[in-house]
């Protein structure tokens, strides 16, 4: 009975967030599509076409684009509304006042972040097909698809957890600084434009980028989608995603609780 109402309230909160996002769908699509679009256009089409990058490059780029779009969309989708809610509009107070654990509000926010991250990952598909469709050589088997689904699920959870942490730390006036200060480093050290194993020539850098969850996500995707032998072993990348999810989740939950009951 009690759990039933808690679950109901969770879905109502999810519905509220989705409704608000739905009302801004054009802005949402624009925000989610622009980044992969411009990167795919440049690195997946223009540079290979003019010979600056090898013709095989787009194929290596594709998993990275999926991972990046998923992670960035999920972080953004959770963090930005949370930061605004807590610090500016204080709209969240009404939900925190519901007769359910305050964490239900956090779970609902994360769930919506996860849905958004999936949409982010999905939208990469049509863009990739348009600009680098001929270069893609994916190795997807039935078993792989199940694994791929698991990786995407885990990664979207990681992105929502990271969003929860970021959203409860960053103030609205700092959101503008988030792009150059946080998202850009995550993108450019995130094993999108290179495979992690290729960094062996830069051992220091190779170790350094391991703090970036996107490295594990992209390596796992690269492994599954391309059957790439040069990708990080799947056990490591999966463990990496899992460890990050747990760490960010625990820290994010703690921060959220602090913000919810000051």
């Amino acid at each position: 009975m009690h759990n039933q109402t808690t679950l109901n309230v969770f879905w109502i909160m999810v519905k509220r967030d989705l409704l608000i996002q739905w009302r801004n769908w054009a802005e949402f699509i624009f925000r989610v599509v622009m980044l992969p679009f411009i990167l795919i256009l440049t690195y997946g089409y223009v540079l290979p076409k003019i010979g600056v990058l090898p013709a095989s490059f787009p194929n290596d780029l594709f998993p990275g684009m999926v991972g990046m779009s998923l992670l960035i969309t999920g972080i953004h989708g959770t963090a930005v509304p949370l930061s605004m809610d807590f610090n500016n509009s204080r709209e969240i107070e009404d939900r925190l006042q519901a007769p359910v654990p305050v964490m239900v509000t956090a779970w609902a926010k994360m769930f919506v972040g996860m849905i958004e991250s999936w949409i982010g990952a999905l939208l990469v598909l049509p863009i990739s097909l348009i600009f680098m469709g001929q270069s893609l050589r994916l190795h997807l088997t039935t078993g792989n698809i199940f694994l791929l689904f698991l990786i995407l699920l885990l990664s979207s959870f990681a992105s929502a957890a990271l969003g929860l942490l970021v959203g409860t730390i960053v103030k609205p006036n700092q959101i503008a600084a988030m792009f150059p200060g946080f998202l850009m480093p995550v993108i450019f050290t995130g094993a999108i434009f290179f495979s992690w194993s290729a960094l062996v020539k830069l051992p220091f850098y190779q170790v350094l980028v391991l703090v970036n969850p996107l490295v594990y996500i992209n390596e796992a995707l690269r492994h599954t989608m391309l059957g790439a032998s040069n990708a990080m072993p799947l056990t490591y990348s999966l463990l990496g995603i899992l460890a990050f999810t747990i760490l960010m989740g625990v820290m994010g939950m703690r921060r959220f609780r602090k913000m919810a009951v000051r």
Binding site: R90, D94, P99, V261, R262
Partner: protein, 326 residues
């Protein structure tokens, strides 16, 4: 004797300020509210009223002390506490991306109402608070008073047992003040809803409250019914005089009278005179004004208003004997 609905014991809140120093916002207060009473919590700006409400409503963790709602500690059972609570916050915390109607319906749904019940009640409340016409409008387009009305409607959506009103009538025109009180009193009478009110408009507690606490710098200076509080001022009956201009010689002359206990100058024209006696006061006071070169515009004798009690209590903080209704 029945258990009080709300019990607050030795509640304290210390904030860390930006410069690292500490600020005691709520300083060891205790009080309780019986089911069905209307309780007014009055205090100057920054006294700690909202901080107290935030702690009771589980939004802020106390530094120390206990809060019980219906006999249960809110720290161990915050969910049960929130189920009983409705809040009109001092600031606008409405859902800006939702319509007025949706704000109410979602709120009802968070509190376990069915969609049908929530929609029906939302429509009723929107009509009562004059918002039917703006039912489908986004809250971000609302005027201050409209938003305030919607906040009130939202707080009573789920028929709370304990309603917190943090300066609810600020920004409301007189007609909607009456409508608000109409609703609150109806909830209070029909469902025994207990009301915790903070306000700077003294006529509201004067008309509606059972108990009033006068609160200042984190401490309750006085607490009781209005007749009880009246006994804290130097005289139950006060002479209110209005002159063209209060002069120093006039004050001096008044101060010398043995039957006058205290004089409170409210502004450049108005005086409140607290007499020692209740006998023939006006007859004794009038000649003093006549002897002075001031023009007496108005003089009357009346019970001490809550305004005067408030001013007196907050201006004589140390002399006050704190009353608790235990």
């Amino acid at each position: 004797m029945t258990k009080p609905l709300l019990e607050v014991q030795n509640l304290r809140k210390v904030f860390k300020k930006a410069d690292g120093s500490q600020h005691v916002a709520v300083d060891d207060i205790s009080f309780h509210l019986e089911t069905g009473e209307i309780f007014s919590f009055l205090g100057p700006n920054g006294a700690g009223k909202s901080t107290t409400i935030n702690m009771i409503t589980t939004q802020l963790t106390p530094t120390s002390g206990t809060i019980k709602i219906a006999g249960r500690d809110i720290r161990t059972d915050p969910i049960n506490a929130r189920r009983k609570i409705g809040i009109v916050a001092q600031h606008n915390n409405l859902d800006r991306g939702l319509t007025a109607f949706e704000n109410l319906v979602y709120h009802g749904r968070y509190f376990g109402m069915t969609t049908q019940a929530a929609e029906q009640r939302a429509n009723e409340l929107l009509a009562d608070f004059g918002l039917s016409e703006w039912r489908q409008d986004y809250v971000k387009s609302f005027s201050g008073g409209m938003a305030q009305r919607l906040k009130i409607a939202r707080a009573i959506m789920h028929r709370p047992q304990l309603l917190f009103l943090d300066e609810p009538t600020t920004g409301l025109d007189p007609a909607y003040r009456e409508i608000l009180w109409d609703h609150v009193l109806r909830l209070n009478r029909q469902q025994q809803t207990t009301v915790f009110l903070t306000t700077h408009y003294m006529e509201e507690p004067e008309r509606f409250s059972d108990h009033v606490a006068i609160y200042q710098q984190g401490k309750i200076r006085a607490l009781g019914t209005i007749p009880e509080l009246r006994q804290l001022v130097p005289a139950a009956s006060i002479v209110y005089a209005t002159v063209d201009a209060v002069t120093a010689p006039l004050l001096q002359e008044l101060n010398q009278q043995p039957f006058i206990k205290e004089i409170l100058q409210k502004d450049e024209k108005n005086l409140a005179i607290f007499p020692n006696t209740n006998d023939q006061i006006l007859q004794q006071v009038l000649p003093i004004f006549e002897k002075q070169p001031v023009k007496l515009e108005n003089i009357r004798l009346s019970f001490a208003s809550l305004d005067d009690i408030f001013v007196h209590v907050t201006e004589h903080p140390t002399e006050m004997e704190v009353k608790t209704h235990a």
